[in-house]
């Protein structure tokens, strides 16, 4: 392992450990009750005892997140392709894409929960509405931001619209699309958690947001933090996965030497 790699992994880990240690010491020295501010050890213990329930909730939340991300990718890319076809289509539809983006999803989530009777699709719709925008805007910009010299080259060789799309626009849009995917993966998780908060569904399909709500009602603050830690962990895994995917797909763009 090189020293720069050691630094980029070791340094943040050291900061994290230090933070937890200081947190633990403060909680113990001032004797802060766990229902006000649990110490890391309390949260760890809660994670152990509530493990099965929390992991089940994590599964639900991740399921909603991943389905929403998948739908966002498919629908977002289709919308971007539609918008890039002509100025008229873009001019007429773009305002609505922006309206969709600026409307706080928390405000329309209750409506969706009421309109869509089944919980799961309702949650997916909410999360998708949050996650889809970066996919649309980034793919659109990627499809547009073609090297003008290369485009001239294609035109000089009388390339068809299909050739332009398949051999120039789509591969050229990949870096922007991948950047959009990274943002969307995080937003899909946010959307899933927000939707769960609003829906407040318990039972078999209870997600981590529901566990946080319940823990709050029961004053089980360590459990609340444990659920929060799992959401953060899920976010990190998603971020890491999309970053790895981006690296894999765009390797050829950046490879040197």
């Amino acid at each position: 392992m090189t020293s720069s790699r050691l630094l980029s992994i070791g340094a943040p880990v050291a900061v994290g450990v230090l933070f937890l240690v200081v947190w633990q010491i403060i909680c113990r020295v001032w004797n802060i009750p766990p229902y006000l501010m649990p110490a890391p050890s309390d949260i760890g213990a809660s994670l152990m005892t509530n493990g099965p329930v929390l992991l089940h909730a994590l599964r639900s939340t991740m399921l909603v997140t991943l389905i929403a991300l998948g739908v966002s990718v498919v629908a977002g890319v289709l919308v971007a392709f539609l918008l890039v076809q002509s100025r008229v289509i873009e001019r007429s539809l773009m305002p609505y894409v922006i309206i969709l983006q600026v409307t706080p999803i928390v405000a329309i989530a209750p409506l969706i929960i009421i309109l869509v009777k089944t919980t799961m699709p309702a949650l997916v719709i909410c999360a998708t509405l949050i996650a889809i925008f970066p996919i649309i805007s980034n793919t659109l910009q990627g499809l547009r931001s073609v090297d003008p010299g290369l485009e001239a080259f294609f035109r000089m060789h009388k390339a068809s619209r299909l050739q332009l799309l398949l051999r120039l626009r789509i591969p050229g849009a990949l870096p922007m699309f991948m950047a959009g995917l990274r943002i969307s993966s995080g937003l899909a998780l946010v959307g899933a958690v927000v939707a769960e908060f609003v829906a407040g569904t318990g039972g078999n399909s209870a997600g981590l947001a529901y566990e946080i709500l319940q823990s709050g009602f029961q004053m089980d603050i360590p459990r609340m933090f444990a659920a929060l830690a799992l959401i953060t962990l899920a976010g990190l895994v998603l971020f890491g996965a999309t970053a790895a995917l981006q690296q894999l797909v765009l390797r050829r763009w950046h490879e040197h030497g």
Binding site: L150, F153, M156, H157, K158, R167, G172, R252, W253, H256
Partner: protein, 264 residues
């Protein structure tokens, strides 16, 4: 045998913003010539090249390609290749696929296209880099790939728009020598835009000196095409004399520029 390739008659270009890119220009490019266009910024040398490539349409006057309109140029007829200032390679494709691109776009069968890529790469000395990606190549090598992509169609006319402007002088000289050798061997008809009078002196059989505002042809300067264009040519007295003459013409053009600036 027809010796004319491209003929421009009283071609004018006014851009949509009202700038006069080119005053009426007459130009006739003969088969097998290597013509360089040289002049200060804004003299319309790139504009002229793009008119010949049909990337721009003239505001007035006419351009003819082998005695006809641009439909003479295409996959069935005469071939025209363009090398841009930047290599304009596809970063997601390797060298072979980049060079094969014009053949693919013209609908040449894959096997035949593949077979033509390697000779084109050999011409620019890059046969060892066929599977590499643009990001793995130096600036000079990327430009060579761009030239191979232009040569792979076996063009009747090669248009080059300041292709080596961004390269260091050493690399530029080497590429110039390669270009001179390629053009002489295959009798390539080439129009070459450059900022460098040394490059123009080294490569051309005819130098067209252009003046700015509005862009126009100021003078033409013929160079004996028979002279061997190799490293020794650069050191010869003839080369020094050509450079002196071109330098004199270019300084006339720049004085002209100052006068128009003062008049405005």
């Amino acid at each position: 045998m027809v010796t004319e390739t491209v003929t421009l008659q009283a071609v004018e270009k006014v851009f949509p913003n009202g700038v006069r890119g080119l005053a009426p220009v007459d130009l006739n490019i003969r088969q097998g010539e290597l013509v360089t266009l040289i002049g200060p910024s804004g003299c319309g040398k790139s504009t002229l090249l793009k008119l010949i490539a049909s990337l721009h349409a003239p505001t007035a006057g006419s351009v003819s390609w082998w005695g006809g309109d641009f439909s003479r140029v295409g996959s069935e007829g005469r071939r025209l290749s363009f090398v841009f200032q930047d290599p304009t390679l596809m970063p997601w494709s390797n060298v072979t696929t980049n060079v094969r691109l014009p053949l693919d776009l013209d609908g040449v069968p894959r096997a035949e296209a593949e077979a033509r890529v390697l000779p084109a790469l050999e011409q620019v000395g890059l046969s060892h880099a066929a599977t590499r990606f643009p990001a793995q190549l130096s600036g000079g090598m990327r430009m060579r790939v761009s030239i191979a992509r232009a040569l792979v169609t076996k063009p009747d006319l090669l248009l080059m728009d300041e292709p080596f402007g961004a390269l260091d002088e050493f690399t530029r000289n080497r590429l110039d020598e390669d270009m001179a050798r390629l053009c002489a061997r295959d009798g390539l008809t080439t129009i070459f835009v450059t900022h460098s009078l040394y490059e123009a002196a080294f490569l051309s059989s005819r130098v067209i000196v252009m003046a700015a505002s509005p862009g126009r042809i100021y003078a033409e300067y013929a160079i004996d095409p028979g002279m061997p264009r190799d490293e020794n040519f650069r050191l010869s007295n003839e080369f020094a004399a050509i450079c002196r003459d071109l330098n004199a013409l270019l300084s006339e053009v720049s004085h002209l520029d100052h006068r128009t600036e003062q008049a405005q």
